[in-house]
C-alpha cells in the first residue's frame, strides 16, 4: 500500500494510503496531495539509494511520497 506522509511537528502524519485498484482511495490521496502543495509543501519520492526526486503530480506507483517544507540558507 502506498502512503502520502507529511513531516511535521508530530514526527510525521500519514495523510493518505492507497492501492491502484481502489479508485476512491486514489482520489482522496490526489486531493490531499494537491492541498499540501497549495499549502507550500514540496513532495519528494526517493529513487534508490542516495537519490530523490521532487514531484508535482502524485506518482501513484510510488511506495511513499514525503511532503517536506522548503529549506533556506541560515
Amino acid at each position: 500500500m502506498a502512503k502520502l506522509i507529511r513531516m511535521d511537528k508530530t514526527g510525521h502524519t500519514t495523510l493518505a494510503e492507497w492501492t491502484l485498484d481502489d479508485q476512491g482511495a486514489v482520489d482522496v490521496a490526489v486531493r490531499a496531495f494537491r492541498e499540501q502543495l497549495d499549502a507550500g509543501y514540496y513532495a519528494v519520492v526517493t529513487r534508490g539509494e542516495g537519490h530523490a526526486e521532487q514531484v508535482r503530480e502524485l506518482p501513484l506507483d510510488a511506495g511513499t511520497v514525503i511532503l517536506r517544507r522548503p529549506i533556506a540558507g541560515g
Binding site: G11, H12, T46, P70, A72, G73, G74
Partner: protein, 209 residues
C-alpha cells in the same frame, strides 16, 4: 533541480571550480587575518623587546580570528531544541527508513547523518551540513535549515537529506557558506559528540578520492 534555488537566482550554481575557488579564497582570507599580525608582533619585538605585551596581543589576535571562523563552521552542526519524546521517536523512524545501517549507527552515536555525493562526502545535521571534499583535506560548512520552527530533530535532518538527494549542487548553492578549511580546524571547535562523525566522513572522503 531544487526549487529553492529560484530564491537565490543571483548565485551561480556551485561546481567543482567554484568550490576550489571558494576554498582558496578562505585560505587567502585566513592568511590575511594571521600573517600581518604575526609579522607586526615579530617586528615590534625586533625593534624593542620590551614591547612584548603588545606583541602578545597581536599574536592573540592572529590566533583568535581563524578560531572564530572555525567556530562559525562548527555551529552548522549544532543541535536544535528538542521536542517531546513521541515526535522525536516517530521522526527517527522515518529518517531510519531513508538511510542505511551505517548512517543509522552514526546518527545514533553523533546525531549526524553521512551521505555520499558527487562533490564529496556530506555530513548532515539539523541546522546545516558539512561537505568533505575528495581526499579529505578540506571541509566546506554550510548553514541551511528548514523554515519550520517546531520540527523534531530527525525531521530536520530528513528535510536536508531529501533536498541534498534531489539536487546536490542546488543544495550547496542555496546554503550559506559558513567556513572552509582543514578538517582539524573544524574538529577542534566541535562538541565532543560530533567529532567522531567528522573524522569518519573525512576517512570516507579519503577513500572517495
Amino acid at each position: 533541480m531544487l526549487r529553492e534555488t529560484a530564491g537565490v537566482y543571483w548565485r551561480p550554481r556551485v561546481d567543482e571550480r567554484r568550490l576550489t575557488l571558494a576554498g582558496r579564497t578562505w585560505t587567502a582570507t585566513t592568511f590575511a587575518h594571521t600573517v600581518p599580525w604575526l609579522a607586526m608582533a615579530a617586528f615590534l619585538l625586533y625593534l624593542e623587546p620590551l614591547s612584548f605585551p603588545l606583541a602578545i596581543i597581536l599574536i592573540a589576535h592572529a590566533w583568535v580570528i581563524p578560531e572564530l571562523y572555525a567556530k562559525r563552521g562548527a555551529n552548522v552542526l549544532r543541535q536544535a531544541r528538542r521536542l517531546g519524546a513521541g515526535p522525536e521517536r516517530t521522526a527517527l523512524g522515518l529518517l531510519g527508513d531513508l538511510v542505511g545501517h551505517d548512517a543509522r549507527e552514526l546518527h545514533g552515536r553523533t546525531g549526524l547523518v553521512p551521505e555520499r555525493g558527487t562533490l564529496g562526502v556530506w555530513l548532515v545535521g539539523e541546522m546545516g551540513a558539512v561537505l568533505v571534499r575528495p581526499g579529505g583535506r578540506r571541509v566546506h560548512c554550510y548553514c541551511i535549515r528548514v523554515a519550520e520552527p517546531d520540527l523534531p530533530s530527525a525531521d530536520r535532518i530528513a528535510h536536508l537529506l531529501l533536498a541534498l538527494r534531489e539536487d546536490e549542487v542546488g543544495f550547496a548553492t542555496v546554503a550559506n557558506q559558513a567556513f572552509s578549511g582543514a578538517p582539524w580546524r573544524l574538529v577542534r571547535r566541535l562538541p565532543a559528540r560530533a567529532r567522531p562523525a567528522v573524522r569518519e566522513v573525512v576517512q570516507r572522503a579519503r577513500v572517495h578520492s
